[in-house]
Amino acid sequence: MKKKILNYIKANLATESIDELDIYENLLESGLVDSIGMIQLVLFIETEAQIKVAPEEMIINNFMTVDHILKFIASKQNSEEKQV
């Protein structure tokens, strides 16, 4: 999942082409990804991780870095499992 997300960002979202991206890089502050890009990232994650991101959950704390995103996905998957 980590790799998929990093690749997706590098290939599709980054406003400038970059070679290196680590999971702690702040996607937003650096301007690497813009708001439309973030939405695309949300959609990408929804498909890949089979989760649903509510509009209320689209906040910096969940999406600041790839690391945040991975944690968010994990917590979502957990809670969704519990619900089932």
Partner: protein, 1381 residues
């Protein structure tokens, strides 16, 4: 990717939207995107030209051209464009203006997109100063594209200048994007997105009317730019960084903040709460297109529901979420025609910066082409293109919606909200003022405010008297009073009053018919320096007493036939006719008392919302201000003749009472008719003896059908209600030319009229005539809920100030304080709060919108009834209308229902009335005939004797006993057997008898050793459904089936009696009525006869039983003699406890546990459920209250049974099983909008609905439309909304028009029907049976009519003549023929 150059491609969604707009307005520059870059440095024009050629070559969007074939537009690339730079030297033009004009003109120049989509000019404005003029057609660009293009040009130019070798890069093509959008059209993701937008915008029908204006297809627009400055911009950025605001990017956060302010602004200037704002999404789907020039943006709506309680931050939090949803659903090709048409405002947050050109200081300006899409009222752009750190906001305003002034003012309105946000974003969005509260009041009638020089009304009258003493002042019947005589008479009365102690501090109540005595009295009271308190002749004694004591009147002046009705021990009463001779002995000279400006002239009582009338105190200066203004404005003079025909207690009548007398004119007095409606106005028209008239708009509707061409009326002054344009137009056309109609507005509290306009058919084309401008020495303000002044056009509450303002309500300081408020901005200190909603229209006139409390709430929507009415009257065949919200009494919340402390009757039982001890009207009334009612009941011996009386008839049984299996009927059976009677038990198997109840039945008959039969019908379910529809219960249908089937068996088996187990309470539900016990010498056989008559009628009533069962046995009336019904409990009285002991002992009866209730019938609870839903209370409430009243049950037992829990799931299952669809589905609240209309009766309701659907949102479309002959009026000539609200749903459902009673007999019959049927208003053509009238109601109605008329009309007549009109006609004919005999 890669597209053939000559390929014709279709337009993208966004391009199509622009194209469509341009097609509608081909000759205006709707889509010219124009920038100027002022460059401070030397530009080499040759290199500039060369560089731009490179830009063209490397940017396919610039080489795109458009064409149209057979209405279908397409775009294609041309290989090369030979570009030669247009260069203009402006250095010799010293004036900035000339450059500006040139730029403006060039900006507006249309682009011929079939040849070239751009226009480039380089202007030299000074040595080393250049302006690059760049114009592109929007079809090929957007904000980001402009930056890309600029940067590309900049870099080519720099390369050329520095001699760096460069080849145009291979940038991704816009053509590829077009193809991408095309290919995605049918993709699943795309379809989901489109559905999202469809759903989002489905219910957005109404667009906010900014400043009350709606679009009219104009494209003309003005741009006003607001510079927020460094400080505000910094503050905004700082707030955007705070955690509670922070979004993904600072720009997104700032967008959300601006959007929050924008929604707030639109809400505040339109009053609308469901709002959609369009915002462009940049829509560059991947990095590939980040460097492509083209039209990528798509404008998509953000939808917000404003809550009245919203603060900036609470709204922001919802906006943030909405933006996220918006972003995730935006994508290439998302917009649709529907989504585009959902908004009329746009917020464009532009994230684009233009760096310096060739490193020379460069200033970018974005020019507007004076036109924009005619579907938009306002397009707002937030940007900082020069990276100055200061936000600029450009407001493009539609020139129809925004006047030039408003366009200039509106940025301030927005900025005021923004400043309030910066100051405290936790404050309510409604709180900050949009405009400065220190702005001066709106202009007044006439040019200048005149400083008042006081002159009393009496002075005006005396002047006329002095000028023309012998001209006629009053004309009343055969009586003519000259000014001289009128003055003398009033002087005499004044002397008399003075002798009685009346002085400057007194108040004198005047209770008169309209007559010359009244006018004399008014003048006389004023002459003593006292104040008069007029009360019309039709007022009830209680109200007169209240007014006298509340006003502190020391004397009641009246006429003898009126006084006799009022018993007033505590006050001096003076019969002016009786005292005539004494008065005529008084001196005729004036008392010489001067009226003081501040002393009271009169007190007028108006109805108060609390139910008690409130007395408005009007001083002499207020009265004079109005009257003398009116004289001047209406131009009244000695030729003016007014009819006095409206109620003297009505403030509107003050005009007629005094204006002619200070103008030297004449008053024709029309005394009111005492019986039935006052038709004086018709008399006025027929007489044709007046030329000025003051009345209400509703009065005007009575002009319909009258011949007015020969009328002398030239001045009509309308007041009291809003005046419709339709009506004014009709009236004006009906008269010959020269008629002037004045619309006068004013609450009693501001003395008759204080805002006025003259109806002008050329200007007044909206549905309502504006109320105009304040009269002299009066001011009007429109304020919002926070007492801020609102901008022009915006609706708010109307406040008044000035000389005409009352100083308050007499003896009610609390209400006075509430209605008269102090303020800091009016010229006078006090403001009167009218409770009326108003706005100032473009012409500067005040427009009345409606009553503030006429705003109703329906399913969460706030609805202005007047708005519906205004739209409805625009329908061609509707002459007049009134819309009310009927809040049925069923909606009384459960916890507000109280029960009679004696019998348990619930307070929501129709027309239930409780006394101070909480005892209901039924209990109270019963006390008066309780003893007589006792006489109806008998004992066991009499029962045995009766049932054995026909034994010789050779039958095997004495009687049939109706056995339901319940405790009451089981007890009956057991007792009958115990009495030694031969009994056949009959049980109706309606399909829903519980198993245990059936077990009971079978066991009981066995144990008692009686024969037993079950009755059955395959039509039972249909009968249930019919019963639920007609009676909201199942029992009525079931009972009738039982009576029918058991009677049949009795007839076959020659059994003379059928014994019922009806409880005593049920007697009063089905057989007995109060009226039966009215007779002083009560004869129970007479009651029995009446009941028998009713039983015959009962079997004639049309219902499912009559339709589906064999009822031929009832055709021969002898059946009612052959088979008699006997109610067991008429003979036997037993308490519940006794009964249960007996049952256990003798019959082995067990309480069924499988019905979940004390009943034995499973469908019974369906009836209770439906009754509660439809009517609000249980169908057992009434009979059980009687059981309690008669001592058969205790109140607690009764309430316990009524409150038993209902198994809703089971109820719904059974409803489904029998095929009953509820009248009121769960989601439907019982409130509904009802429109009454007068006009063409045959208008298809569908047409009206479709007509309204185009104008107002669906939740505002009334669900019921009812034709009425005339909109009913109150005594004061206003629409009787209270009465209209009281019309029941059954009446509304009838196809007949509503016609109010037209004569005394109809009025009487209506009153009686309404009492018995528990309705408030009944049309004379409404059908008795459809109103819920049945045989029992027939007994009651007939008994009451017989009592009133003192005659004996037979019971069945009401079914033969089932309308008030027919029955009244029958009464009249009967009475006439009696008289003739």
């Amino acid at each position: 990717m890669g597209v053939q150059k000559n390929t014709y491609l279709p337009l993208t969604k966004s391009q199509s939207a622009l194209w469509a707009g341009q097609r509608l307005h081909p000759d205006v520059p709707l889509h010219n995107v124009v920038y100027t870059f002022a460059i401070n440095g030397p530009i080499d024009k040759i290199i500039f030209e060369k560089s731009f050629q490179k830009v063209i070559d490397s940017t396919d969007a610039l080489r795109t051209v458009f064409s149209e074939e057979q209405g279908i537009p397409s775009q294609h690339l041309v290989d090369t464009i030979d570009f030669s730079l247009e260069f203009i030297d402006f250095t010799h033009n010293s004036k900035d203006e000339e450059l500006k004009d040139w730029l403006h003109e060039r900006t507006l120049l249309l682009i011929n997109i079939s040849k070239q989509v751009f226009d480039i000019v380089l202007l030299k404005t000074a040595p080393n100063t250049y302006v690059w003029f760049l114009k592109l057609h929007h079809l090929v660009t957007d904000a980001i594209s402009n930056v890309i293009l600029y940067n590309r040009m900049n870099s080519f130019y720099q390369n050329e200048i520095s001699g760096t070798f460069s080849i145009p890069g291979n940038f991704p093509s816009f053509q590829d994007y077009i193809q991408l959008e095309q290919s995605q059209k049918s993709e699943e993701k795309d379809i989901i997105q489109q559905n999202y937008w469809k759903e989002k915008t489905n219910n957005i029908l109404e667009k906010p009317k900014l400043y009350g204006e709606a679009l009219n297809n104009t494209t003309a627009a003005i741009r006003t730019t607001l510079n927020l400055g460094v400080k505000r911009s910094q503050q905004l950025r700082e707030i955007a960084k705070r955690n509670e605001f922070k979004g993904w990017t600072e720009d997104l956060t700032l967008f959300n903040i601006f959007l929050t302010l924008y929604f707030t602004y639109i809400y505040r200037v339109s009053g609308q709460k469901t709002l959609a704002v369009g915002a462009p999404a940049h829509n560059r789907p991947s990095r590939v297109f980040q460097k492509t020039v083209g039209l990528f943006i798509e404008v998509l709506p953000l939808v917000i529901e404003i809550d009245e309680e919203d603060t900036f931050i609470s709204l922001f939090n919802r906006v943030k979420i909405e933006t996220n949803t918006y972003l995730r659903n935006s994508g290439p090709g998302s917009s649709t025609t529907q989504s585009n048409s959902s908004f009329n405002t746009i917020l464009n947050y532009i994230h684009a910066e233009f760096p310096d050109f060739n490193e020379f200081p460069t200033h970018t300006a974005w020019l507007h082409s004076d036109h924009m899409d005619s579907n938009h009222d306002l397009r707002t752009h937030v940007y900082d293109m020069n990276k100055s750190g200061e936000f600029k906001i450009a407001f493009d305003t539609n020139s129809h919606t925004f006047s030039q002034t408003l366009a200039e003012e509106m940025p301030v309105h927005f900025q005021n909200l923004l400043d309030a946000f910066l100051q405290n974003y936790e404050q309510p969005i409604q709180k900050p003022s949009l405009i400065s509260n220190t702005l001066p009041a709106e202009k007044q009638q006439g040019t200048k405010k005149t400083v008042p020089s006081f002159q009393s009304v009496l002075k005006g009258f005396h002047d006329c008297k002095d000028r023309k003493p012998n001209s006629v002042a009053l004309h009343y019947g055969n009586e003519l009073l000259t000014y001289n005589l009128l003055n003398k008479k009033s002087n005499q009365l004044a002397h008399y009053l003075k002798a009685k102690g009346i002085n400057e501090n007194s108040k004198v109540t005047l209770h008169f018919y309209r007559s010359s005595d009244y006018i004399v009295s008014v003048l006389a009271v004023l002459k003593t320096g006292a104040a008069f308190v007029p009360i019309a002749s039709d007022q009830p004694a209680e109200r007169i007493k209240y007014v006298i004591s509340n006003s502190g009147s020391v004397l009641l002046l009246s006429q003898k036939d009126l006084i006799s009705k009022v018993n007033l021990p505590d006050i001096g009463v003076l019969d002016i006719q009786k005292e005539k001779s004494v008065i005529e002995e008084q001196p005729t000279i004036d008392l010489g008392i001067q009226q003081q400006p501040d002393s009271l002239a009169y007190i007028l009582y108006t109805s108060g919302s609390t139910g008690k009338p409130k007395g408005v105190r009007i001083s002499h200066k207020s009265l004079s201000n109005y009257i003398f203004w009116a004289k001047e404005y209406y131009g009244t003079n000695e030729k003016s003749i007014f009819p006095l025909f409206t109620s003297i207690g009505f403030d509107l009548t003050i005009t007629t009472t005094l204006l002619p007398l200070i103008s030297g004119g004449r008053m024709n007095i029309y005394r009111e008719t005492t019986n039935g409606p006052d038709v004086s106005l018709l008399q006025v028209i027929d007489d044709n003896m007046v030329n000025c008239i003051k009345l209400t708009p509703s009065h005007l509707t009575l002009f319909k059908g009258k011949n007015l061409k020969t009328s002398y009326i030239r001045t009509i002054i309308v007041g009291g209600e809003e005046l419709k344009v339709n009506l004014s137009k009709t009236v004006k056309e009906a008269f010959s030319s020269g008629l002037r109609i004045f619309n006068e507005y004013g609450p009693t509290e501001a003395t008759v009229g204080c805002i006025v306009t003259e109806y002008n058919e050329a200007i007044h084309i909206k549905s309502t005539v504006p109320i105009g401008l304040p009269i002299k020495n009066m001011s009007a303000y429109i304020l919002d809920d926070y007492n801020n002044k609102v901008p022009k056009g915006v609706i708010g509450e109307l406040y008044l100030s000035g000389i005409g303002l009352s100083d308050g309500y007499i003896n009610d300081p609390k209400l006075t304080k509430e209605k008269f408020i102090e303020n800091s901005f009016a010229d006078d200190i006090r403001l009167y709060r009218t409770g009326d909603l108003a706005r100032i229209n473009k012409a500067g006139d005040f427009e009345y919108i409606g009553r503030k409390d006429e705003q109703v709430k329906l399913r969460g929507h706030r609805i202005e009834l007047a708005e519906i009415e205004n739209n409805l009257t625009e329908y061609p065949d509707i002459e007049n209308c009134a819309v009310v919200l009927i809040d049925s009494n069923k909606t009384v919340p459960e916890n507000e229902i109280v029960n009679c402390t004696k019998c348990g009757l619930p307070s929501n039982y129709p027309k239930a009335d409780f006394d101070e001890n909480g005892v209901c009207h039924l209990c109270t009334a019963f006390e008066t005939y309780k003893e007589k009612a006792e006489r109806y009941f008998k004992n066991d011996e009499q029962l045995v004797a009766l049932l054995s009386s026909k034994r010789n008839q050779n039958a095997s049984y004495d009687c049939i006993s109706l056995l339901s299996g319940g405790k009451d009927s089981t007890y009956v059976l057991a007792r009958l057997v115990n009495m030694g009677l031969k009994v056949l038990a009959f049980t109706m198997d309606n399909g829903y008898i519980s198993e245990q109840a059936k077990g009971n039945v079978d066991r009981i008959v066995k144990k008692l050793g009686v024969d037993h039969v079950y009755g059955k019908t395959p039509h039972m379910n249909e009968i249930f459904v019919d019963s639920l529809k007609q009676h909201h219960n199942v029992c009525n249908g079931c009972f009738k089936t039982i009576y029918t089937l058991s009677t049949k068996i009795a007839l076959e088996k020659k059994i003379p009696f059928i014994v019922t187990g009806l409880s005593r309470g049920q007697f009063f539900e089905t057989r007995l009525t109060e009226e039966l016990f009215w007779d002083d010498d009560l004869d129970t056989t007479k009651i029995d006869d009446t009941i028998l008559e009713a039983r015959k009628l009962y079997h004639k009533e049309s219902d499912a039983v009559k339709r589906l069962l064999d009822v031929s046995i009832f055709e021969d009336e002898s059946v009612f003699e052959k088979v008699e019904f006997v109610d067991f409990y008429r003979f036997s009285d037993v308490s519940l406890e006794e009964m249960l002991v007996y049952l256990k002992d003798k019959a082995d009866w067990r309480r069924p546990t499988d019905t979940g209730r004390s009943t034995n019938c499973l469908i019974n609870q369906v009836g209770i459920y439906v009754h509660k839903k439809d009517m609000g209370y249980s169908n057992y409430s009434f009979p059980y209250s009687w059981d309690v009243r008669l001592g058969h049950k205790t109140r607690d037992e009764s309430l316990e049974e009524i409150n038993e829990v209902i198994d809703e799931k089971e109820v719904l299952r059974i409803m489904d099983e029998i095929g009953y669809t509820p009248l009121h589905p769960e989601w439907d609240s019982n409130s509904k909008l009802v429109a009454y209309f007068a006009g063409n009766k045959d208008i298809a309701i569908n047409d009206i609905q479709n007509f309204l659907a185009k104008k107002i949102p669906s939740y505002m479309i009334p669900s019921v439309f009812k034709h009425v002959d005339e909109i009913p009026l109150t005594k004061n000539g206003k629409v009787d909304k209270k009465g209209l609200k009281a019309i029941s749903s059954a009446q509304l459902a009838m196809s007949t028009s509503y016609t109010a009673p037209r004569n005394e007999i109809e009025g009487l019959v209506e009153k009686i029907w309404a009492e018995v049927l528990k309705l408030n208003k009944i049309g004379v053509h409404d059908d008795f049976i459809s109103l819920g009238g049945h045989s029992l109601a027939a007994i009651r109605v007939t008994a009451r009519i017989n009592e009133e008329i003192e005659y004996s009309f037979p019971l069945n007549k009401i079914f033969e003549m089932p309308t008030i009109a027919k029955y009244s006609n029958y009464i009249e004919k009967t009475l006439t023929s009696l008289l003739e005999k």
